[in-house]
């Protein structure tokens, strides 16, 4: 089985694909408004702490989990966690941990992508609208334009299916000819689009007011506002690190499963983090916010998630060359989202190859159909209810796209730091160009990473409780009772996906390691 698995074709292809996996919409869409909202430069203090204490150790751990799992022929997280956990606990307990991890990764790859592919479709649609001048007329209100867009079945379906079809086609081609080839094209284009936009941003001058310049916008956004540095900001920073690095999702592990047993993981993992930070802090932080400040002053920084689809289009309308730069911005978002969504898509294909013995082509078609099924409620809600609250999407994102990433991160941290311990340490240094020092493993991977992740989880739980997400009718839909069924539907879907995910992961482990579960002894070792 292990011999049939594909490998990455080149080191540069692997690193670009991994960077593409990590670099997503969060880098360009979420980071700018997070730094604006949570204390400017002061936000970077907990951000940096979270990056060092959780981001880098978990990134290396996920590469390690994946490469080791791939050696045994696994591309999914359940058996990967089992293989590491059985070093410290009985095979039965390890199988339960594997089942839980597999369940969470299954949930992420199905449900996060169910809305993520829609957002990619929107970016593609908006790139088209930018080029064709769809929202460029003076009379167009970009807020209303966005609401009309998500309520228009024709445009939503066309661009959703285009995005989904392209993903399916790329994954169908395999690791080297599909994912790696597309990453080699898309990642350089993404960086080029980013540089073009930065140059344009920094040369905007002061078209509205003498005080509103891109440099002043940058200075304003980066000036530390220490009074805003609190637990909420720290939690937001830690959440941003999980989201931006794609950790706690299982997709980094899946890509790492296509490594050869002695391929480097430490240096490659740290390079992935560096490239992601370049895209997030330098590109992501220097485009949207300074543009918004130049045209709208401080008011532009309060746009939140509407920055990309409402505020920026409004600015592109009045900017010289706005059609081109608008298209460039949305294509950048499209490429960033595409290279992450493809990783989630491939995880499910790997699962079907592994579990059902399907060939890649067939598995890609099945996953395509699955994404149509789970993606339908996301686009049907605004069309059918004629609202723009996106309650189904919000409920799925709150739990699967944010909260449970931390739970999975904690499982990984405990399994690597405390259950596999010395074995994981030896494994991650095998074949690696840079070695993880023993002190780093002890201080970070055994102590700081699990502890910080646990604290992060506790405070996230408190924030979720205070925000009313645990209530039978969550606070965000209390005033819109017609949307409550959509929230309940989201909860039901999550439950069903989790039951299937746990059963599948546990079954896969039992199928290959059943003898170990019965005898309590390790039998299969490579």
């Amino acid at each position: 089985m292990a011999e049939q698995r594909e490998n990455w074709g080149s080191k540069i292809g692997l690193v670009l694909a991994m960077a593409g996996n990590a670099i997503g919409l969060g880098n360009f869409w979420r980071f700018p408004y997070q730094i604006g909202k949570f204390g400017g430069g002061a936000f970077m203090v907990p951000y940096l702490f979270a990056l060092i204490a959780m981001g880098i150790p978990l990134m290396i751990s996920e590469w390690n989990l994946g490469r080791e799992g791939g050696k045994y022929g696994h591309g999914t997280l359940g058996p990967m966690i089992y293989l590491q956990a059985r070093e410290g606990v009985s095979p039965k307990t390890a199988a339960i941990l594997g089942g839980l991890a597999g369940m969470l990764a299954f949930g992420v790859t199905i449900l996060v992508n169910s809305y993520y592919i829609h957002i990619i479709g929107w970016t593609l649609g908006y790139a088209y609208e930018s080029i064709t001048g769809g929202y460029m007329a003076e009379s167009v209100n970009t807020g209303e334009f966005f609401v009309n867009y998500i309520q228009d079945p024709v445009r939503v379906f066309i661009f959703w299916l285009l995005a989904l079809g392209s993903l399916g086609y790329a994954v169908m081609k395999g690791i080297q000819k599909g994912i790696e080839a597309w990453a080699k094209f898309m990642m350089p284009v993404l960086y080029i689009c980013g540089f073009i936009l930065i140059i344009r941003t920094l040369t905007l001058g002061a078209p509205v007011q003498p005080d509103w310049t891109p440099i002043k916008g940058l200075n304003f956004i980066w000036t530390p506002r220490w009074e805003q540095l609190n637990w909420t900001a720290a939690i937001a920073a830690a959440g941003q690190i999980f989201f931006t690095l794609s950790i706690g999702m299982g997709i980094i592990c899946n890509y790492a499963s296509y490594l050869k047993p002695d391929d480097d993981i430490v240096l490659s993992g740290v390079t992935t983090v560096s490239l992601n930070e370049f895209a997030e802090v330098i590109l992501g932080g220097t485009i949207a916010i300074p543009i918004a400040y130049t045209f709208m002053g401080e008011k532009g920084l309060a746009s939140g998630v509407g920055l990309s689809f409402i505020s920026l289009p409004n600015i592109f309308k009045s900017m010289g060359g706005g059609q081109i730069f608008g298209a460039c911005w949305f294509l950048l978002l499209f490429f960033a989202g595409f290279t992450s969504a493809i990783a989630m898509y491939n995880y499910l294909v790997a699962l079907l190859e592994e579990e059902a013995g399907l060939v890649r082509k067939k598995a890609s078609v099945v996953v395509f159909a699955l994404y149509i099924l789970v993606g339908l409620p996301v686009c049907l809600e605004p069309i059918l209810t004629k609202t723009d609250a996106l309650a189904y999407f919000t409920e799925i994102d709150n739990w699967i796209g944010s909260y449970l990433l931390v739970v999975l991160g904690l499982i990984e941290a405990v399994v690597i730091g405390w259950l596999s311990k010395g074995k994981a340490f030896d494994e991650m240094n095998r074949g690696s160009y840079w070695k993880v020092p023993r002190w780093f493993f002890k201080v970070f991977m055994q102590f700081l990473t699990p502890l910080s992740t646990l604290i992060f989880l506790v405070f996230s739980t408190r924030d979720y409780f205070n925000a009313g997400y645990f209530k039978l009718v969550p606070s965000f839909v209390e005033k819109t009772p017609q949307l409550v069924p959509w929230v309940n539907a989201a909860r039901l879907v999550i439950l069903v996906v989790f039951v299937i995910g746990f059963t599948q992961a546990y079954r896969t482990i039992k199928k290959k390691y059943g003898q170990e579960l019965t005898t309590g002894k390790t039998v299969v070792r490579m």
Binding site: K11, I12, V15, G40, G41, M44, I215, K216, L218, N219, F220, I221, W222, T223, P224, D264, L267, S268, V270, T271, V273, S274, L275, E277, F278, V281, I282, G285, Y433, W434
Partner: protein, 32 residues
């Protein structure tokens, strides 16, 4: 305007650019 924000930003930029340079150069060196 103090310029403190820009100074803060440049420190982060420098650190990230250095990290990218060092990691990519090491990868290229080891890949040969």
């Amino acid at each position: 305007m103090s310029g403190l924000g820009l100074g803060f930003m440049l420190v982060f930029w420098a650190a990230i650019i250095c990290a990218c340079g060092v990691t990519l150069a090491s990868l290229v060196k080891h890949s040969k």
